[in-house]
Amino acid sequence: MTLQMAERTQRTRPKTRKAGKVSRREQATGWLFLAPFALTFLAFLVAPLLYALYLSLFQKQLIGGTSFVFLDNYSKAFTDPTFLDGAWFVVRFSAVSIPIQMLVALGMALILDTVTSAFSRFSRLMIFLPYAIPTVIGALMWGFLYSKSFGPLNDVFGASAPDFLSSQLIFYGLLNIVTWQWTGYYMIILFAALQGIDPTLYEAARIDGASAWQIALRIKIPLITPALLLILVFALIGTLQFFNEPEILRELAAGAISPDYTPNMYAYHQALGLANFNYGAAISFALGGVVFVCVYVFMFLTRKRGSFF
């Protein structure tokens, strides 16, 4: 949403003041504006991270108590099949769910940009509605819907209804929840970007004989690339932190979703279920580190094309 503007600003912002001659007063005022956030930042981001780092250097056993083990927890995490399975699930899930979410959101945004009727305005609102639903409630509702005979699936498909709470299909069950929950929001972002495109571009293209399909492909999509990258980052961060949906569905599908299903659930379960804060912290930190590096690399790679940050 803000990216096109960011792009433009970076190119055109006039350098009104000379560098190097910053008054004391400006320095102080700048920091004053920053101070409340900086304090929060130190207290609720830097301090917990450092503390997690510190905790993660210790090991706690039921027998033997706590001891300093330096990086053992990390070497353990990166060879721990449970953690790796969880991480691998998240990678697979991201690889499937993110493109699907983006394609669905893009498709809907293009349709809504093309069709302007009262019904399309109504649709836009309805499609956006799940964004207003807490993910916990969304997962709860879908969990009920997935229950074959409690929910509607048996009514619709009969005895051969798919069981989205089984180990085989839970992946798709989660995929559907995430798609339902977030595509409306992404659609609105893309739609807003599409609405911002100068319509005379389409007129020109039509005069040149371009079809609606070609206009979408050649004009609309390239022009909203920054917005697409933005939702990509949203989806990436969201998916890598996957916690709420599987945690809620676990109450209906304990066999299909183990308490260590995703790295976040694993960390939570280690820390609070099994009293192992140290290993939980190491997993949190390892996960945070991996996500950070992945997203940063990704942003670096896309920086020039989309002018992200």
Binding site: T2, R13, L49, Y51, I111, V136, L140, A227, V291, Y296
Partner: protein, 294 residues
Amino acid sequence: MTGRTVSASRRRRSQPHLPLQILLGFLVLYYLVPFWWVVVNSSKDAPGLFGGGNALWFADNIDFIGNLQELFTYNDGIYLRWMFNSALYAVAGGVGATTLAVLAGYGFAKFRFAGRRFGFAVLLGAVMVPQTALVIPTFVLFSELGLTNTIWAVILPTLLNPFGVYLMHVYARDAVPDELLDAGRVDGAGEGRIFLNVALPLMRPAVVTVLLLSVVAAWNNYFLPLAMLSDNRLFPVTVGLDMWQGTAGGNNAGTTPLWSIIIMGALVSVIPLIIAFLLLQRYWRGGLSIGSVK
């Protein structure tokens, strides 16, 4: 644009696009199915829910009122408290986070100071730190400070919104001309007054966006309060309903039909935000289109 091209474009745009409209119809159905299910099933009692009737249609016995009464009286009416807590956390956390973000974004955009570049780089990094990874260490820290199981344990960490700061920074940089600020300074106005009277009005669309994102994020919060709170009277509705689901799944709901209450609770819990979104359409649509409209 001449009048002729406008009408031409109108004509094109008003084409019925029937296949697309039908497709949209199916999409709307898909997005509404869970809502429909919840509305229908919140009217049922336990036999209606489990008795094998059509899950997508009402049972013979429609009992919205009875279930609503159960919902608001079960456990001494704790559900209402949960809703209130959710609202409190969302408003306090959302407004607080937005305030901090506006101040910091403006500071980053309009002042040069030692550590600015470094600070901004750190901020960009922080956008990518998964909030959930912070919950466990924050919890341990808070427990050592004796802050767990208080409303502050939920509200304070919610104040952190690096993405909001980034958004405000980008917007302030573009939408607030330096010349206006300098003019204010020449007139002798203090920095605070300049910010409030000159910059803030110009930043309003971005403020609305950040506020919206923060409030929704705080309203949705589950992991943080789940870890932080043990007194169920401090729970937000997300954690509370989850607790009821756990109770219904265990043996100890007694003879109260808890599933009906949970479904009714899910329905009632989504109503406030839906109403807010419908009423505030103009604002959030404007907010979300920042930058691409101009």
